[in-house]
């Protein structure tokens, strides 16, 4: 009490800082007192004359245990008190004491709150702050107390939580304060505090966020009314993460949406997929930002307000032909009425490569392995005895020089280094940073949102790495012209710059950097003693001195639109027009790199010099106009929408390159001197237009029906096939609204069953001009009139029956909410992709032309999506602990149901009926022969044998599955596969994302895991895996050391070490035979993100204008668990030069801050 008085005394002089502190203390005290107050007795005896009221209060407190809350200033106006009471009740005592006083009181729990009498207005007093105490009870819809409801003071983070009976109490409130009472699953209420009586606040339930609105195609819809398969998420998942782009941030967050990145290159775009294998021609979801088809890779993640996935035909129907494989809708933030809100966030991340093969560099070990692998094939050692001996000496004594002059040839260097070329090539860490500023606000007439974003990522290379700069600005304005008309603009400008060393986009020696660096000899060193580059070191030399390339992308976009509403918002018309220009300009050059192979040698050069440039221009325009009518007539809810969409895209490109730069310092075409420059240029256009409509009908909020259709046209089809009619329908039954369900609503607060069926077309399976024949041209070989003239040739044939690839989609779903806290959605679906455009059945040769593509294949994908979210809060050490958990799991499987491969050849990789795309055909490995006798007695394996005789110890033994006494793959058909069978499948199954988050006491924490439950990985002929089994030149990786078969290591994973085993002799030979022994599970779980933040609510900051300041740590891809061989990243199993040979993925460790003003 004393303490309180002191503080109160200071209020005269002080500011809001203390008021805030006070409030915190009041709340804390309240919470603590609550625990003990009920233990005190109530009878009071008083005998005082003309004492101060404060003394009386002290006396009462001692006897009753009741606290007094009052304002010192108020008390000073008190008259002296005389009182004589014996065993009185508290009420009686107080009544006596407060008689004739200018204030009154109220009892709240174990406290007496002293307040001025209503008639006494304090307006004329300098102190406006009058602390009041309130208490009350929060009830649910049945009148029972609601425990755990949050009672907060609006505009602050202060508040309390109701107890087991639903009671709450707050002390020392500003009487202007507003209480915000919220509880999961109930509508939030705001009430003015009332200190005169116990407040009774009844919350009404909202079964499964009844009023939540979901963005759907051309509009929004109440979540509860949805009948299609839709998943949505707030843009919050993207905030404050060191993600390079939105795709990486959405990974795992939406069930059914699979996002894969093929490399860790800065600026690399991830691939999106909705609901599994789409078409043999590929097919990806339509991605729209604010209703406009956009590349979201370069979008500012902080601009994202929500992301919605439309998964079934019914929900995607209004988008027609490009939505055959789902739609991803992104909406950006908009301004809200109110004072300007400024937000700044920044993030600085240190990145570190996730996985690289472990290279053995010890010269002695390496030279022994190289000799072994080499002599296995060539019969002689790669290095002679002198060299081998020196390598071993150097292993024992690393101070010996790594480079010596060849003892037999004074003009040649011999290298005995221990170079880990990965370490030479890559930096231990690289970094990225992001800055984002946004301003939003508005008044009754105008709302606005402006944002700017800068992102910089540096690549992984040690020398002169690549870098990527992204700059985004967005401005959104909404003018309320009249009550019924809004006009808005949504402008965005994006600029990216990617600057890179030339070598690894050009074929300067023999190709891909990640392949070459994996086989750069560890015995070699980057530089010679005289400082010149070695031959092997040219890989690094090019990074430093080999020229640079630079790609700049400029992308301005503007949407202008209007919305109108008439007749009490029952009828609306909306329209917009978008223009976007995308320009890329690339300029690059490379120069020849000098290197030396020995002393007294002429300088050699790798590569050549050239300059090149290319530029393109893409102009995209879209028009949307639609109208909707929405009305409820009694129990009938009706909403109809009809609209029109038109898009036109025009693209042009040119490129030029020329050899022989005059100077290696000026890498422009102007300074190139080659006599035969190479130029090219081309262009294309496409257009779509369609009308679409949607009809929603609901009866009594129970029975929901939606019918969608789009009459869709695409320029990619012949004129008589431009249009396709694509209808869908879906229905929902809200079982929980039925009378018979009433008894269950305590547990199951919402239950909805959904079903949909629909057709969508796919115009993406055709090129822009596949519908029309194009005539080829070229110089002829004949000499006519002394020259070789140009000729034009008959065009390719186009099937006159060529028509739309169509997708037939069935979906059945269930939405359920348990205890108003757990939301679960499950969908089963079947998607038939029919009439896929591919090679038709063979036609007679008299056709005289390459057979045109036909609508000749079908496939069926079946799968399910499940998402579960649980949100709750409880009191932890007197503070509300809000937490959420979410789980997304989805799966799909595809089977080819029609394809022109009558003999069902799987060998050769063609599709066949019954195939699950991604199937790996292979052999079952029994083990490794431990003796020659065992090998010779086993079934004949010679059909799979490569360079080496297989009938001996140390070689692989396959199972003779068909017991025909020989090991082979038959004729490579499904009917006669020999001993081969499907040993795995590369399609990811059981994709999942699991996340959790909590906030407590200014601390926020979130964690998110993502992964794949089932997937096979066969390393193929990747040198990163096979090491010297691939080629004697490959490096020695740790996974083979001690793991190759010898009589001493009979349990080795690999057979006897010899070079050229994995792939050199062709497919399905030796170790290039797919087999169970070297088949890995590519399933993984990865810690995608972990964020810990702390928000400061320091009044100090508020004084300088900062409403909120949050500091956080965020980690991206911090940890993973998988079953892959060492060096392989579960997300980087691709690579055109072999598995894993891609720009490496990196973990991100970042620190950042957000400030709101």
């Amino acid at each position: 009490m004393k303490f309180y008085k002191i503080l109160c005394g200071k209020t005269n002089r002080v500011s809001k800082i203390w008021r805030v502190m006070k409030l915190i203390i009041v709340i804390l005290t309240t919470a603590i007192l609550q625990v003990s107050a009920s233990a005190y007795a109530q009878k009071i005896t008083l005998s005082q004359k003309n004492v101060s009221i404060e003394k009386i209060f002290d006396e009462i407190r001692i006897q009753s245990g009741y606290d007094f809350f009052y304002n010192l200033k108020l008390i000073k106006q008190a008259k002296p008190v005389s009182v004589e009471l014996k065993d009185a009740s508290l009420e009686e005592t107080l009544k006596a004491c407060f008689e004739n006083q200018p204030f009154t009181y109220s009892i709240k729990e174990k406290a007496v709150i002293v307040r001025p009498k209503q008639s006494v207005l304090l307006n004329n007093t300098p102190e406006k702050y009058v602390p009041i105490d309130v208490s009350g009870k929060v009830l649910d819809e049945t009148g029972k107390g609601l425990p755990g409801a949050a009672v907060k003071i609006k505009g602050t983070t202060q508040g309390t939580v109701t107890d087991q009976n639903g009671n709450f109490k707050l002390k020392g409130l500003d009487d202007n304060a507003i209480l915000v009472i919220s509880f999961i699953g109930y509508d939030t209420r705001e009430v003015k505090p009332d200190n005169k009586s116990e407040m009774i606040i009844t919350l009404s339930p909202r079964a499964s966020n009844l009023d939540d609105v979901v963005v759907v195609g051309y509009g929004t819809q109440k979540k509860v009314n949805l009948t299609g398969a839709v998943s949505t998420i707030s843009g919050k998942v993207l905030e404050d993460r060191p993600i390079p782009n939105i795709g990486r941030g959405l990974q795992g967050e939406l069930s059914g949406l699979t996002i894969t990145s093929s490399s860790g290159k800065p600026g690399a775009a991830p691939a999106f997929n909705i609901r599994g294998f789409t078409s043999i021609n590929g097919g990806s979801p339509l991605i729209l930002v604010d209703g406009v088809q956009t590349n979201i890779n370069d979008l500012n993640p902080d601009d994202v307000a929500s992301a919605t996935v439309l998964k079934d035909a019914a929900s995607a129907a209004v988008y027609g032909s490009r939505a055959a494989f789902g739609v991803l809708l992104i909406t950006t933030k908009t301004g809200q009425k109110g004072n300007p809100k400024v937000s700044y966030s920044m993030n600085y991340a240190i990145r570190k490569i996730t996985n690289l093969p472990d290279v053995v560099t010890d010269p002695g070990t390496v030279i022994d392995f190289k000799n072994q692998a080499y002599s296995g094939y060539y019969g002689v050692n790669l290095y002679n005895t002198t060299q081998t001996a020196y390598a071993h000496q150097r292993s024992a004594n690393p101070s010996l020089p790594a480079t010596i002059v060849d003892p037999t040839n004074p003009n040649v260097y011999d290298y005995f280094g221990a170079t880990n070329w990965f370490k030479e090539l890559y930096n231990p860490t690289n970094n990225s940073q992001t800055h984002n500023v946004s301003v939003s606000g508005g008044n009754d007439r105008i709302t606005y949102y402006f944002s700017a974003d800068y992102n910089n990522q540096t690549g992984v290379f040690r020398y002169n790495p690549d870098y990527y700069d992204r700059f985004n600005i967005r401005g959104k304005l909404d003018f309320k012209v009249t009550d019924w008309l809004h006009i808005y603009t949504n402008s965005a400008y994006n600029r990216t710059v990617y600057n890179y060393p030339s070598l690894w986009t050009s074929d300067w020696t023999s190709g891909d950097l990640y392949h070459q660096i994996g086989r750069a000899n560890t015995l070699a060193v980057p530089k010679n003693p005289d400082g010149s580059w070695t031959s092997a070191g040219t890989y690094l030399g090019f990074l430093q001195d080999g020229g640079r390339g630079n790609t700049v992308t400029n992308e301005p976009q503007n949407t202008i639109g209007f919305t109108t509403s008439f007749f009490n918002n029952t009828w609306r018309i909306k329209g917009d027009y978008t223009f976007r220009a995308t320009n890329n300009y690339n300029q690059a050059y490379q120069v020849a790199l000098p290197y030396e192979t020995g002393p007294n040698q002429a300088i050699s050069y790798a590569g050549h010099s050239d300059a090149s440039a290319w530029a393109d221009d893409n102009a995209y325009q879209a028009i949307n106009i639609y109208t909707e009518y929405e009305k409820t007539f009694g129990k009938h809810y009706f909403k109809g929408m009809i609209g029109y969409n038109q898009e036109l895209n025009k693209y042009n490109y040119f490129s030029a390159s020329n050899n022989n730069l005059i100077s290696s310092n000026v890498g422009y075409l102007d300074e190139s001197t080659g006599t035969t420059p190479s130029v090219s240029g081309n262009g294309y256009q496409w257009a779509v237009r369609g009308t679409f409509s949607r009809l929603n009908y609901g009866y009594d909020n129970k029975y929901l029906l939606e019918v969608d259709a789009r009459y869709d046209g695409s320029s990619r089809f012949p004129t008589n096939q431009h249009y396709a009619f694509l209808p869908s329908a879906s229905a929902g039954w809200r079982v929980s609204e039925e009378p018979f369900f009433k008894g269950l609503t305590k547990v199951v607060s919402n239950l909805k069953l959904r079903a949909s069926y629909g057709t969508l077309g796919n115009d993406q399976s055709l090129g822009n001009y596949s519908f029309t024949p194009t005539l080829g041209s070229g110089q002829i070989s004949n000499i006519l009139g002394g020259t070789q003239p140009i000729a034009v040739y008959a065009p390719n044939l186009v099937s006159p029956t060529l028509t739309w690839e169509k997708v037939y989609n069935k979906d059945a779903g269930i939405d359920i909410t348990l205890f108003s806290k757990l939301n679960a959605t499950f969908d089963w679906y079947q998607r038939d992709t029919k009439n896929m455009i591919t090679k038709g059945f063979q036609l007679p040769a008299v056709l005289g032309a390459t057979q045109p593509l036909e609508n000749a294949a079908d496939l069926r994908t079946q799968g399910w999506d499940l998402s579960i979210a649980y949100n709750d809060q409880f009191q932890l050490v007197g503070k509300p602990f809000n937490f959420g958990l979410r789980v997304n799991v989805w799966d799909s499987q595809t089977v080819i149901t029609r394809y022109n491969n009558p003999n069902k050849f799987w060998f050769g990789g063609d599709y066949y009926v019954g195939e699950h795309p991604g199937d790996i055909w292979g052999m079952t490995t029994k083990g490794i022969f431990q003796s020659d006798a065992a090998a010779q007695g086993a079934p004949d394996q010679s059909k799979l044998q490569g360079y080496y005789a297989w009938n001996k110890a140390g070689e692989i033994q396959y199972a003779d599955l068909n017991h025909d006494g020989k090991i082979d793959y038959g004729d490579g058909t499904v009917g006669n596969p020999g001993d081969a069978h499907v040993i795995g499948n590369t399609s990811p199954r059981y994709n999942f994302g699991v996340g959790g988050n909590f906030t407590w006491n200014n601390i926020d924490f979130s964690i998110f895991f993502q992964g794949v439950g089932k997937e096979s990985f066969w390393p193929g002929t990747s040198g990163y895996y096979w090491s010297m089994f691939y080629a004697p030149w490959e490096n020695v990786y740790k996974n083979i050391v001690g793991n190759t078969w010898t009589p001493q290591t009979p349990n080795a994973l690999y057979p006897s070490l010899k070079g050229w085993r994995a792939g050199d002799d062709g497919p399905w030979v030796d170790l290039a035979v797919p087999q169970t022994r070297y088949l890995y599970s590519a399933a993984y779980i990865r810690l995608k993100n972990l964020t810990v933040g702390y928000s400061f609510n320091m009044p100090l900051f508020k004084r300088i204008g900062i409403d909120r300041l949050r500091l956080y740590f965020s980690g991206e891809d911090l940890w993973e668990s998988d079953h892959l061989p060492q060096g392989f990243d579960p997300e980087a199993l691709g690579g055109s030069w072999g598995a894993g040979k891609v720009y490496p993925f990196q973990r991100g460790y970042s620190f950042g801050l957000n400030a709101k003003f």
Binding site: Q646, T691, P773, L775, S777, I783, V792, P844, V846, L847
Partner: protein, 593 residues
Amino acid sequence: MYNSKIITMKKIHIIIISGIMMNILSLYSCKKDSFLTRYPVSSLTEQNFFANANDLNTYCNGLYSYLPGSNSVALGDQQSDNYENNPFNKVVAGQLTLPTSASQAGWTWTYLHQVNYFLQNYQKANASQAVKNHYVGIARFFRAWFYFDMVKKFGDVPWYGTTILPNDDGDLYKARDPRQLVMDSVMADLTFAANNINPTGPSGTITKWTAQALLARVALHEGTFREYRGIAGWQTILQTAGSAAQAVMQSGNFKLYSTGNPKVDYLNLFLFYAPSDPQNAEVILGYYYSNTLHVTNALDGNMRAYGLSLAKGLMNSYLTINGTPFTSTPGYATQMITQEFNNRDPRMMQTALQPTVVYGDLKGAQTLGFAPTGYAQIKYYDPTTPTYNTNYNAGIDFRYGEMLLVYAEAKAELAGSGTGSFTQSDLDLSINLLRDRVGMPHLMMNVAIDPVLAASYPNVGGSLQNVILEIRRERRVELACEGFRYDDLMRWEAGPLLAQQFLGMYFPGLGTYDLDGDGQPDIALVTSKPSNPVSGVSYFVVGTDIHLSNGNSGNVVVNPTLVKTFTDPKNYYFPLPTTELLLNKNLKQNPGW
């Protein structure tokens, strides 16, 4: 007041906006949509090509790929009794097996598609009918040639005058059309071509005279084909052949190439490099190469190839310098290669390499391995080529000499069966011009019947049997190696001539021989390799390295174990590919296959 104003405004806007939307929606009543009609902007299409005469010309340039280059015209006879190669030619030996795929069988139709596509689209061009007809003539010329080749190979073939669409089952799955119908179409095409193609053009291009020449060639083939199989109407076709050849002869544009040197003129005719060279006088259509444009052929490499060699039968066809058959000369059969070139038709030593002659890098009898019969081809071989496989002597696709032979044969065949006349003057303006060039005595109407020829072509009879046989000899000799012989045997129904061993040069027995006449032995025929071989002598173990027709003596037998067969009618046609028979049930295999 204010409210009502709003409502009025609202109503107006609603009306306007609804109107706009209705308009937009009404676009969809029409099926063709110009907004969606987007043709390629950076490629040639049917919509933007065939605009003018230049486009027609550009397209027709692509059709010239059908023309045979030097390799075809200089080595075209390997599939005939003029050669005995190692390895042997499967067609000649009757060893062809059933092909499976269309490309294996030569049942390929892409070229026809190219031609027909033009004929379907040329009308779009903005050009005069005469100009259009010129290019149509070129296209029809090539279509005729394509069908001529297809008919020669397969007999009946389906005729397609237009391109086929993938869903045009009627055309895709139709049966073969009768040969007569197809060949009548071929000759109609050629007649159109001859009447409409410009009489002159850039070098290497098709002219009216090329079309006449092909018409003559085709009509002679078809006319005699029908004649020897008793198919009615052959006379008309042979008259066409004669008149087409005559038209070329009377055009005044062409004459035989001659410098008055019988020993080299024939050889030099085929060492013809550019249209400006004097040989061009004889050339109706040349296929040119250029060392400046780096467009060359590989004739020297192909002619030096292991195993390529001319047959003794061709050598025996050359008359003696007196104009009498070599085969009538006593002891001709046991003449060695060193003797038999003496006193012969000069075309012999200008076609085959005489062993005593050094001619570039060409190796003849003395190496045996390269030309196992001993007779290496010299015709078309350019000994001056600076680098291997970079010859640029032109291939002569049509020459005046052939026209003279067509004229003589057509007229003689007709006259021999009672249609028209054939006199010494006909011989003098055809065969005897060829003989004049090489200094050979004239062929006379009263020439004696050569029993060897008569035995070879037993179906030749009639009043002009003697002349017709000699015309056939002249044709074999003059056009040797140029790719006519197999077709000639087929149309003369003389296929059985292929079913025999075509021998090589004669060896009287074991021993060493000086074949190149330098006084040093070159080769030795032995029964076993000597332990101390003489340097410079190649040893051949008889029965192992070399086979002779009579054990240790006789003519060289290149393929001793080969049994050649010729079955009538099977071997007069090629087999159709089995996959195509499966795809099209209306397509039937040729007889015997």
